[in-house]
Amino acid sequence: MKKSMTGAEILVDALIKEGTKCIFGYPGGVLIPVFDVLYKREKDIRFILARHEQGAAHMADGYARASGDVGVCLATSGPGATNLITGIATAHMDSIPIVFITGQVSSALIGTDAFQEANIVGITQSITKHNYLVNDIKDLPRIITEAFHIASTGRPGPVLIDFPVDIAKATLEDYSYPTEINIRGYKPSVQGHKKQIIKTAHMIAQSERPVIFAGGGVIISKASKALKDLAEKINAPVTTTLMALGAFPQDHELYMGMPGMHGTKVANYGLMECDLIISVGARFDDRITGDVSKFAPNAKIVHIDIDPASVSKIIKVDVPVVGDAKHVLEELLPIVDAKGKNAWNEEVAGWKRDFKLHYRTDDTDEMKPQYVVQRLCANLPKDSIIATEVGQNQIWAAQYYEYTFPRQLLTSGGLGTMGFGLPAAIGAQVAYPDKYVIDIAGDGSIQMNIQELATAFVERLPVKVAILNNGYLGMVRQWQDLFWDKKYSGVCLKKQKECLEQCSTPSSACFSYVPDFVKLAESYNVLGLRCSEYDKVDETIQKAMAHDGPVVMEFIVAKEENVFPMVPPGAAINEILDVEL
């Protein structure tokens, strides 16, 4: 049915037709025509007002990661748009489908340095999968359909639509939402090449020490079951990257844990000692390979990925298979020969016995952050969703929480964005209002988007924040501790002007922490809890769970605790530092 509609009406109508239930955003002058329509259609589509555009971007991201649906984020021109940048780049690095819509100054003013004008299409070219400037209202319906299609198919990613205000106000006489998409430059290969899949089966048959290396692509393509079936059929040990935690059962006998800089020894030894890596939806990030020239010296590599550009980018592979992980694994499964357990499985099982993740509790009176994460896992229901900030908190959350299903862990893996966790948790809570959504945070990261506590409260989104407060920007402090002669420069969050120069020794004489997180939470109408003793941890978590609204739990933890195991930067991944018991 064709209708006469304004650009703003078309936008909102198209979003609803694409199944958008919620828009995260922030208004501005050039977006008023759009907000005028949203006002009328409040019943059909929810608008969540973030307190900062970066927050809105991460909320849309958390929503998309948790639900698998396309997130939608709306921001105004100029500073509104530039405030999205970190959020867009975060989504781009982790292949998260989001459609960003930015208001733009009137077409006639573009290029004149108009008030609140920024060339956001130019600025975001290298951090979006694709972007559009709407020049003509006739193109608008096609652009929105294409944006959703591009964002959600192939290797997903963010797409930005820059939407000038005159187009929002213009009228299109014969609007109908397109049902067909034809983009001649965009045809992702979903089916893997038959020959390559057969070659993969041969490689597996010849291998005596295979390892399956699974990345975020497994979660995106819903390939968890196929992955498990393959692993069990060929009895190959499995390692899952940070982006794939939850894609393979962590209590499975074939599971080796996470690989890389802070991975388990089992996973790293597994990759280094194997004769075949079957990589599924992973991209050999430098945090995983360590020194590339020493990585997996005896392994042949099969690389299954939907993005051809990820294949042989870092590591030369022997068999590239370009296709969707689930499709390829399902085609591979029937033609691959079953393999029994062999000496390799025994070797890996031995490592699993000998090298468990561990930390000490007897080297300080202070509470250890790892314990807090373990207790969160023990107290929360199995279907809870965990978001993290970035740094030590992120790695402890990865190591000491047991993930049991895909999309359970929301973390900024590629870009490593501090300030991601709280807004991502809020977005996830919108998708799953009845689940517990927890942000495992550091005292540094949480302050980067703390303003979103207001959003959580007013929107009745009962996220629980667990701050592991060590008073430091802990991961950088850890590197300074281990590799820079313990020169704690620029990392102490308690440091004030009167402090000694070159201080690397935290003590009880230090200034007290600013802000007071409990009081801060209370000022947002959010419950604030503080805990610094082991035997109060469970009680604190249970109080937070029982509270019908957002909560900030502040856990005062050991100031100088380091994340282990650790592969020093630039080393091979079997050169591992660990804490002595």
């Binding site: 299409v121 070219q125 694709h130 983009i183 430059g185 965009y186 550009a309 042989s312 980018k313």
Partner: protein, 157 residues
């Protein structure tokens, strides 16, 4: 490190050149020359990009180009049975003593004199890159006042 000619068909649209240029700078690939113009289909432009790089870099360049939504087709046409041409416009120092010698060189290179002044000759030369290079090297001792090269265009026979 070899020179490669990559032929790219792109949507003839606002901003496409910027995207391609941005891709090369973002990934630190070096463009030696880039030409762009409409094809037989006015919706499609062809870019001829000359880059220097080893096999792995070339493979990545092609894959990254292919990832752009506005890119329709990418082909490394180096070594194929192709014609490639470049135009050179150049203004050369000239005196009454050496003017004849310069004009003779232009004739040998099948160029045309397109401007002449008391102290200079301006000429156009058309041909493959080797020919253009050879002409420039020959003429350099006379003194080059100003020159511009079009960049290479190429097509498979």
């Amino acid at each position: 490190m070899n020179k490669h000619i990559i032929s790219v068909l792109v949507e003839n649209q606002f901003g496409v050149l910027g995207r391609i240029a941005n891709l090369f700078s973002a990934r630190a690939y070096n463009i030696q020359s880039l030409t762009v113009g409409e094809t037989e289909d006015p919706d499609i432009s062809r870019m001829t990009i000359v880059v220097v790089g080893d096999k792995d870099i070339l493979e990545q360049i092609q894959k990254q180009l292919n990832k752009l939504i506005d890119v329709i087709k990418v082909r490394d046409i180096t070594g194929m049975n192709l014609v490639d041409r470049e135009a050179l416009l150049i203004r050369i120092n000239a005196t009454s003593a050496n003017r004849a010698e310069i004009i003779q060189a232009i004739d040998i290179f099948k160029g045309n004199v397109v401007g002449i002044k008391k102290d200079s000759i301006t000429t156009e030369i058309f041909g493959d890159s080797d020919k253009i290079e050879a002409f420039i090297e020959f003429i350099r001792p006379f003194g080059i006042k100003e020159m511009v090269r079009s960049g290479r265009v190429a097509i498979v026979r």
